[in-house]
Symmetry: C2
Amino acid sequence: MTSPIKLAIVGVGKIVYDQHLPAITANADYALVATASRNNTIDNVPSFPTIEAMLAADPSIEAVSLCMPPQYRYAAARKALAAGKHVFLEKPPGATLSEVADLEAYAAEQGVSLFASWHSRYAPGVQPAKAHLAVEKPTAMHVVWKEDVRQWHPNQDWIWQAGGLGVFDPGINALSIVTEILPSAVFLTRAALEFPENRDAPIAADLHFQDADGVEVHAEFDWRQTGKQSWDIIVTTAKGEVRLADGGSRLWIDGAEQALEKEAEYPSLYQRFAAIIRAGKSDVDVAPLRHVADAFMLGQRKVVEAFHD
Amino acid sequence: MTSPIKLAIVGVGKIVYDQHLPAITANADYALVATASRNNTIDNVPSFPTIEAMLAADPSIEAVSLCMPPQYRYAAARKALAAGKHVFLEKPPGATLSEVADLEAYAAEQGVSLFASWHSRYAPGVQPAKAHLAVEKPTAMHVVWKEDVRQWHPNQDWIWQAGGLGVFDPGINALSIVTEILPSAVFLTRAALEFPENRDAPIAADLHFQDADGVEVHAEFDWRQTGKQSWDIIVTTAKGEVRLADGGSRLWIDGAEQALEKEAEYPSLYQRFAAIIRAGKSDVDVAPLRHVADAFMLGQRKVVEAFHD
């Protein structure tokens, strides 16, 4: 029996209370020993105002989970890696692809594990869908990711700033599933991005991808969806249809709903992080973020009406 | 003495007549055996309307140089790689990072060489500047790439389309030099991109980069420069200054102009391509294009007055 990994959380907010904390508490692989956050704390865990103060105060920390907005993740990750800590990056792994490439190289140099986490890949329907599509090749795919930003990201200004990614913040979850379940690589052929006239990030995106054999993937992301919310991926095969609904938590194959494991995205992420630490490896797949960068580079920009929270 | 590589050119236009053709003709490593282009031909070289027709007509072709606009490069590259040909990609290597990643993987699978060419890296001042900066570490860098688009890209509509990159078409040359001469990796921290109200690509960009130690790189790209044109990189070191001017063709170190080889960017590219073919290797560095994608993803968009050729 190995001893628990001494873990610290940096950037304590809603996603930490909702997801990270329950997953860590329930996992015997971890002992949560510190947090660093300007505004929030976790009961009975020593808290520090900054990552520097935290790393200085407790040299026994072995791994750090970075949960702040992506614009601030690089500097914190460099500090943690410099101190020889393993690093878990909440999605997306950074504000730029170049900084993620730098972190990956630096983690290798430091001999520690870097984990770029994509929680939606651990939704219960994803691996069964992937296994089916490895046998029954897709002929087309349609992705519909439409939600109400006022409900899911109320008054989160950072998400609307340049680098905050806008509707790609949820959309990158869809792309993380698409790139996991498709048997071949796809790339963007055309895209349109809608920017509210008062914001620096898009509120909607329409994306057309293709693989080398011409199989087409159409993805629609929209943050203006009221009423029914959609996080659906519909794959056509020669024999029928694979339908992932509710962000990958329900799965139909050729019309029949499949029995799935219970939802456990963040518990699975922390199991994976512990496994790569024990194995002395990193796990950094930038494909979802690369597609987002490609969409910003290739996409037509349309200015649409102002958005107010 | 090895026999010359049987080379074909796809996409015959101004850059081919000005640069590729003289470099190929002067190099005994190559025999130019075919071209494929909708509108243009090369005297005394068999020409075909499409790459498919060309590859079908002459199976002896060993390598293909792709010189069409980046939006069309992927499909042609896949066809050439599928036919077992070595591929030279004019800069930028594609319209998206994802397609370049796919081509790199496919070239490896096919056992042929893929060359993502960055011609400005072969400007005569670049390697001497790099050698100096490996010893005298940079403390800051300023890049000024300002030219008159009406003079250098008259009526080239594709350059203004989504995916045509706009001012990053010349700017990526600067970034190819910056990433070559700097001893450490940099990443974007903030950026502003100016889009003419009638165009889908930026006419100007202001970029701020940093390396892990906080060394700052400031790059200004502008396509509205009349009068004197600027393709300059000024690097400050603890002891003095390194100044690359005219796109890397002149070099001053601490105030003293350096004697350099004669300009030979495209001849050097074709020497490199032949060398990697003979060695059975590929050479694909996406760093310059990755910085461009990062700039589109992270940058603030400003709409400026319409641009007319």
